[in-house]
Amino acid sequence: MTRQLISILLENEPGALSRVVGLFAQRNYNIETLCVAPTEDPTLSRITLTTVADGVRLKQIVRQVNKLIEVYSVKALGGANCLERELVIISISNASSKQLDSVIDFAQSLNASSLVKSEELGILQFVGSGEEVDHYINCMNAKLVELSPDLKIAELVRSGVAAIELN
């Protein structure tokens, strides 16, 4: 069972999203991440979602989604045929100014950027593939523990993966 990326173009109409999400629940497929917004054609929305499935199940998911009347097209993306990006925002509280400085320095060395820095709060943003985001979060956790056992990520918000086809 591996992580699979599915890209769906569907009519930008009320209720269309719930049909896709409902189908996943109804057929016992899981959704790991979900990302949805209108496209260059405002009458169509793009859903990018990730799920865990083997090849046979993936084929079945794609066909079931394709049956929905409002789905214009659906494609399994993966490997070299797409570029994926996810955004993560994390906040760190209860850190001293000095600690926050070294956290930000460290984060910037990982290509993250600092959005907010005040006395009691630091907010950092990182963009990368899903896997890179996982890696970034692990590194940040390790760094915080290294600075002080009491320090940890206060809140973590991930956008879900968005992806674009390469060819």
Binding site: L10, E11, P14, G15, Q60, I69
Partner: protein
């Protein structure tokens, strides 16, 4: 200039444009503007049911027997939720249906208003699609789309939810019924790839033990004639699913009858030993395959289906044909004719020899454990339900439309009534909805006023929608109801006998059953009670006699309460593992 109409009138005019004959429905607050529009027209007849579930089954029976979408109209809230079981029934068996539900006014949606239910949400998992009307203006185009979606591709139910304000008699729009449907995201397939047909035909010619496995999709596609011609010319045995009975004539020598859990011995054995299976509009349901890992170990699987998602869902197809069954049959029948016209005499001899060999095996299975279609009544013994179906078959000369409910009687009807015509047999195969039989028969009778329509039921199922006896009187529907009365929920009881040590938990109620003869008489119909095998033929003869032709007759046949349905697939086994009778069952316990 086109005339201006209110939302209610736009709806009814649109239904008229679609050629709708009947609306099966029940009025209520949110649907009253629509009901007023119905009152002010003559073209469409509204059938007033006694419960909304029955309305959906009637529309379903009408749809399955005619091939045209059935139409249901219900009010919001309980009217809509009562329709859900029937919508799910139609969805599972791919019956075309358009369900119109009234909704509370738009400005009250989401406020938990009186009789408010999120119908689009509640029905979502059991519809092919649904619409909610935002303005009356869009009603004609939504109706057009709904019928198109319901009737094309793999058919199914479509819901149109109509808030009361959009049918306001004082707000009028031009009536403009679209000629074409524009749905860029809905492109149902019909034609498949020629190369897949080539491969399928080659596989067939190379096979020595082929079986055609035919499902409901073959009936929907209307390919029965082609199928019969093709199978006959190449002497291929044909096994049908519960939904596929009638696609190929059951009285044809090459028909193996039904396959699956209660399928015939020869059908299941042939499937298991086949080296090629051509599946036509069937979906490898768990009631057919039993354990998919043990399914047909030697067979190359050709899977023809209009629904892409059905192909390779349960069993991986070796040759997948995503296409309408009639398209496939046309193509492969042409191939067959070409092939036979060029076949060398030596090849023909060899092919026919191999076919003889395969048939001698099948005939041996049929001989050993096939169904006994010539049972004789045993005087003084309770009527066997199988015998009752055989007597019914004779009394109707095999020509009736037969609907059924769900349970043992359904299996006996499927096994012993030989359906020779597509659409002749109508039952709830997928969802297994008790209470389906009577209202479905009513819809069939509406669609076919001149035909004999029989509902085979059991007293358990019948009591789930018997209020419709009143509707039958109102519209003069001369349905013949054959009640196989075993004073129990027979199939539940059978499973309890076989798997729960005979503990009949909540499956019997013999002390509290009504006298059905008196009951149906109270509804204004004719009741006949038959007890004792010696009275079976004469009782049925009376039920189908000329003086009672225009009457609804309820025949209450008291059958052997201890009878089980055999063969029965062994749980978790392969298709060739079956319990064939009580002796075998008792020996294994």
């Amino acid at each position: 200039m086109a005339e201006e109409l209110s939302g209610g009138d736009l709806l009814i005019r649109s239904l008229q444009e679609e050629g709708v004959e009947y609306i099966f429905g029940y009025p209520g607050g949110a649907a009253l503007h629509i009901y007023d529009a119905i009152f002010r027209q003559q073209k469409i007849e509204h059938i007033l049911v006694r419960h909304e579930q029955a309305a959906t089954h009637m529309a379903d029976g009408y749809a399955r027997s005619t091939g045209r979408a059935g139409v249901v109209l219900v009010t919001s809230g309980p009217g809509a939720t009562n329709a859900i079981t029937g919508i799910a029934t139609a969805y599972m068996d791919s019956a075309p249906m358009v369900v119109i539900s009234g909704q509370v006014p738009s400005d009250l949606i989401g406020t938990d208003a009186f009789q408010e239910t999120d119908m689009v949400g509640v029905s979502r998992p059991v519809v092919k699609h649904s619409f909610i009307v935002k303005t009356a203006k869009e009603i004609p185009s939504i109706v057009r789309k709904a019928f198109h979606i319901a009737s094309t591709g793999r058919p199914g139910p479509v819901v149109i939810d109509i808030p009361k304000d959009t049918t306001d008699p004082n707000v009028k729009f031009q009536f403009d019924f679209p000629e074409e449907v524009k749905l860029r995201s809905y492109r149902p397939i019909f034609e498949g790839e020629d190369s897949a047909v080539d491969r399928a035909f080659k596989a067939l010619i190379c096979s020595t033990r082929p079986v055609l496995y035919v499902g409901g999709g073959a009936i929907t596609s209307g390919c029965s004639e082609l199928l019969t011609e093709f199978a006959s010319a190449l002497k291929i045995p044909v096994a049908a699913t519960l939904m596929g009975l009638g696609a190929f004539p059951c009285s044809h020598r090459q028909s193996l009858g039904m396959l699956g859990m209660h399928g015939t011995y020869e059908a299941n054995m042939a499937m298991h030993e086949a080296d090629l299976i051509i599946s036509l509009g069937a979906r490898f349901d768990d009631r057919v395959t039993n354990d998919p890992k043990k399914f047909c170990p030697d067979a190359t699987i050709v899977h023809v289906d209009i629904d892409e998602a059905s192909v390779s869902k349960i069993i991986e197809a070796d040759i997948a044909v995503m296409a309408d069954s009639s398209w496939f049959m046309k193509k492969i029948e042409t191939k067959r004719q070409e092939y036979l016209s060029q076949e060398q005499p030596g090849d023909r001899e060899k092919r026919e020899e191999l076919s003889e060999l395969w048939w001698s095996k099948i005939e041996a299975w049929r001989e050993q454990h096939g169904l006994d279609h010539n049972r004789k009544p045993e005087i003084g013994k309770p009527i066997s339900p199988q015998l009752a179906i055989q007597a019914l078959y004779r009394a109707t000369e095999g020509k009736a439309f037969v609907t059924s409910d769900v349970g043992q009687h359904q299996m006996f009807a499927a096994q012993y009534y030989k359906f020779d015509e597509p659409r002749q047999w109508i039952n709830s195969g997928g969802l297994g909805t008790m209470g389906f039989g009577l209202p479905a028969a009513m819809g069939v009778q509406m669609g076919h006023p001149e035909r004999t329509v029989v509902c085979v039921t059991g007293e358990g199922s019948f009591m789930m929608n018997m209020q419709e006896l009143s509707t039958c009187l109102q519209y003069g529907l001369p349905i013949k109801i054959i009640n196989l009365n075993n004073q129990a929920l027979g199939m539940v009881k059978q499973w309890q006998d076989m798997q729960y040590g005979g503990r009949h938990s909540q499956s019997t109620y013999s002390d509290s059953l009504p006298d059905f003869k008196t009951l149906v008489e109270a509804f204004g119909h004719i009741g006949i009670k038959i007890e004792g095998a010696e009275n079976l033929e004469s009782g049925l003869k009376e039920a189908f006699s000329e003086p009672l032709r225009n009457k609804l007759v309820f025949v209450d046949i008291w059958v052997d309460p201890d009878e089980h349905v055999y063969p029965m697939a062994v749980k978790g086994g392969a298709m060739n593992e079956m319990v064939l009778g009580k002796a075998q069952e008792e020996a294994s316990q």
